[in-house]
């Protein structure tokens, strides 16, 4: 079973955690990554252009109906929810979920619904519970769940809540998450 989509959620402390994670992923990584990082609604595209400096994978702020391509990194734009359809993304400006838009739950639930056991859900450092419900759905639909070990998280609230609520497959120190993803998603021909 090849994993096609890795859905990642994080809030407080996420920028530095994402830097660590993304810089360790190699060229031609065979799965797509969709990321929700909580941020202010009036923030600009600084986040994705900043993180592009640390990864060989192309980074995008998603535009509506953008195609999901393996080895690309997709960020939810500020003030929009990011949703997964089969093969492409949709955006919405529906009500915030857990006070958040983009919401991690919205991304993870839609990824779970469409990609089922071909999805991996990852929760990193975060200061509220947005993401727990989504990770639970992803697990229920047969996807793989990974949570950053709370003692390595800048803000342990989200990882701790996720571990309490979901029978998580892997609880890993931040440094071990990218190697685990590489292991789960071997490059074609390997």
């Amino acid at each position: 079973m090849a994993y096609e989509l890795i859905a990642i959620g994080t809030s407080l402390g996420g920028l530095s955690a994402l830097k660590t994670l993304l810089r360790s992923l190699p060229t031609a990584f065979p799965a797509a990554l969709a990321i929700v990082q909580h941020r202010h609604k009036e923030s600009d595209q600084g986040l994705s252009s900043f993180l592009q400096k640390f990864t060989v994978l192309p980074v995008h702020e998603v535009e509506d109906k953008e195609r999901i391509q393996p080895g690309h990194v997709y960020f939810a734009p500020p003030d929009y929810h990011l949703l997964v359809e089969y093969g492409y993304f949709s955006l919405s400006v529906d009500e915030p979920v857990c006070y958040a838009r983009p919401s991690i739950d919205v991304l993870l639930e839609s990824a779970a619904d469409v990609y089922n056991e071909r999805a991996i859900g990852v929760l990193l450092t975060g200061a509220n519970h947005d993401g727990v419900q989504g990770l639970s759905s992803l697990k229920a639909q047969g996807g793989v769940t990974i949570v950053q070990a709370p003692n390595t998280a800048e803000s342990p609230i989200l990882p701790t809540a996720a571990i309490a609520a979901v029978n998580v497959d892997w609880v890993l120190p931040l440094a071990d998450i990218a190697p685990r993803l590489i292991h789960l998603c071997p490059a074609a021909g390997v």
């Binding site: 509506d64 109906k65 949703l83 359809e85 949709s90 919405s92 529906d94 009500e95 839609s110």
Partner: protein, 274 residues
């Protein structure tokens, strides 16, 4: 259509039922967000499954109407995305100055805040007397609010902030009168606006426009329906007419990509080619 998962079949049947029973057409809406809204509507109705909702909705018009409202999204604000208005002032206003008279179609205007924002911008540019704005929405209920131009005063602080960021030149309070917990926009702002019901899914073209604004509406449609609406927009725009989409929307993934040039790329302002 391929084989669907059981819960997707339930959603499919609900949407088909809503169409065949009442004519409300959500068949080509983007599935992921539609599903979320149906789930939260179930909660608000105290129902536990989509099949229960099917049965209830088919026999109960009031429930179907509530569902219709629950499935439509009306997130809006005055001067939402201020940078859009700055780009409009810089890139579009100079073009509009060359017309003795011009028409703007604001498609999917919801409760009207963004239409009035455009009226204020044109007023400040001295162009308002030369225009007619057609503001349409599929939902009569939100149009009633739009026509009244009455909004909660607690939103004025945010609107004022956005107005100033959007390049506003006056004191924002000049545009409304406060009364109790509401404000009413000054009547002159309504003078050049015609509000009317128009459904982008089922209704056709009704005039030729110099500008069409449709922001954060098409994100709720699938690609087939987006293409259909872009055909409608293309056929409703005059030569070199301007199309304005939402910040994260794009003409790129549609059939009409080649029919427009970028006018302000980051703000999704496009200009129809000949």
């Amino acid at each position: 259509m391929g084989i669907l998962k059981p819960d997707d079949v339930d959603i499919h049947l609900l949407i088909e039922g809503l169409y065949h029973r009442y004519g409300y057409d959500f068949r080509n809406y983007a599935k992921a967000s539609l599903k979320r809204r149906i789930q939260s509507f179930l909660k608000s109705e105290g129902l536990s499954s989509v099949p229960e909702l099917q049965v209830k909705m088919l026999g109960d018009r009031a429930c179907a109407d509530r569902l219709l409202l629950g499935l439509t999204v009306n997130t809006t604000a005055m001067f939402r995305d201020p940078s859009f208005y700055i780009a409009f002032r810089q890139q579009v206003v100079p073009l509009l100055r060359t017309y003795p008279f011009f028409r703007i179609w604001h498609a999917g205007c919801s409760t009207g805040q963004e239409v009035y924002s455009m009226a204020i911008l044109l007023q400040e540019e001295g162009l308002y007397p030369r225009c007619r704005i057609y503001a349409t929405d599929a939902n009569e209920k939100v149009l009633q609010t739009a026509r009244q131009g009455i909004y909660p005063s607690k939103q004025m602080q945010e609107y004022t902030h956005l107005y100033l960021k959007a390049g506003g030149r006056r004191s924002f309070s000049e545009y409304y009168t406060a009364r109790y917990n509401s404000v009413i926009l000054r009547p002159f702002l309504r003078e050049r606006i015609v509000f009317g019901e128009h459904n982008l899914v089922t209704d056709g073209s009704f005039n030729e426009f110099n500008v069409i604004i449709c922001r954060n509406v098409l994100i709720y449609f699938n690609q087939a329906l987006q293409n259909q609406v872009h055909e409608l927009f293309y056929n409703s725009l005059c030569k070199f007419g301007v199309l304005g989409l939402g910040k994260q929307e794009t003409i790129r993934f549609t059939k009409y990509e080649m029919a427009y040039d970028d006018l302000a790329k980051a703000e999704k302002l496009y200009r129809r080619r000949s």
